[in-house]
Symmetry: D2
């Protein structure tokens, strides 16, 4: 499967007084990119929630390399680096859309749970969802 | 009843590249101040929610007079200006804590609803809550 | 001039525990829509800033009619309702993109200032900008 | 030196539709706690900025263990784990104030720069600031 990266303009309110995007917003962008990636690979997150599953965040990590500011746009390339029906890790590269420079590299880890946040394995509980995640591991990006 | 205003420092991430607090955050501060006011007047908002009621926002309004930035602190004085068991309006004055200048004047309107966002009158459904709101109208502030 | 409205998906982190978009985010959306509107009408806001002008917010107002939540998309139609080279007011209608229901109606007022937040009149200081704002008052929307 | 942890209530708008605090806000709390820690140890961050230095974030990391929601309060214990006049790392433990459970463990890395974001060593450029950071490494917490 071939999908497009997640791109958008930077909002004015996302900057801080250093005149760059507050580093705290990158974690929000990762969530936006993750949900966009899942939608494009055929696993819309609100369908997962409707089926009674959740995918809370266990861990995030972000390395900041180049700053971005208002007037810039970014593109995020997401990649599932680990998936076993129980846990999942995603790796993100955030680029300046105009200059194509790598601005940040990030990672998030997740587990599947039921509505009460109890961890579970989806392999047998949701075999179609499991297949969709397996397929999503082989996604490539068109520019 | 005599209560203290809601005061706190400004967070770095609340500023934007104009080097002042983003005007969008004042609406969040109003929510913080409203909840603090209700707690201090004996009507903690999460108790209201536990009782099955909600108090969604119907309308907000904010007039910006002086900017605030990182390094400043603010104090908010809240006042219930209308209450009839069905709807409620709150008026807020946001001051720079150091200079005592009025930085913004704001208003929010609310109605009472059940868990499904259906409007209701609490006068008889929750007479103690109703009394508490009546009392809260007479609150004064100690500095 | 005929432009498109400002539309986007709702982000997960924009919801709150009432399971709807926090009312505080609508004020941010107004900023996004305003900047998008100015870009589409040929007055990109970061160019205004580069020219040494700013357009701080004097007042905002928002009436909430229908809630939105994660999974929904919105479209915002912006309209300049007042402009005199010194002050400007914008009126916004926020629609649920799928159902086409009006979810909120809002207003913001602004004045032009220099870099030090001192108010000024752009009529003669920036005649081209002034013309662009006059033109922007006659913009219509294509769906 | 003996200081108090950074504690505060959770704001309503910090929750998301999972009915817990959005994981993205922990990164903001780290910034709040870091600035509070620096203030309490005699290195107020806005004084650092006034002296012409900045301390941008190179990297953040956060492991989520227990969720928090509206109605809860948290306390953050910050600790400088690395400092050499050029780079600094801080480790954070975020506790539920009532239950005393560890809710998250996090880390941020920073470097010192001038106003133009050019990295520099403060050892000789700002010897008093350097001493203050050395002292801050030995801070302990009173409950």
């Amino acid at each position: 499967m071939n999908i497009s990266p997640y791109c958008r303009n930077i909002y004015y309110y996302e900057t801080d007084r250093m005149d760059v995007v507050s580093h705290t917003n990158y974690i929000r962008w990762m969530e936006e990119a993750r949900i966009d990636f899942m939608k494009k690979t055929g696993i819309p997150y609100h369908e997962i929630e409707k089926s009674g599953f959740m995918l809370p965040v266990l861990e995030v990590e972000c390395k900041y390399k180049k700053s971005l500011t208002y007037g810039d746009s970014f593109c995020i390339y997401s990649k599932i680096t680990e998936y076993n029906g129980f846990k999942m890790s995603i790796y993100y590269e955030i680029y300046n859309k105009e200059t194509n420079e790598l601005c940040a590299a990030a990672k998030s880890s997740h587990c599947f749970t039921d509505k009460n946040m109890k961890p579970l394995r989806i392999t047998k509980k949701a075999p179609e969802l499991h297949e969709a995640f397996i397929d999503a591991m082989n996604v490539t990006f068109s520019k």
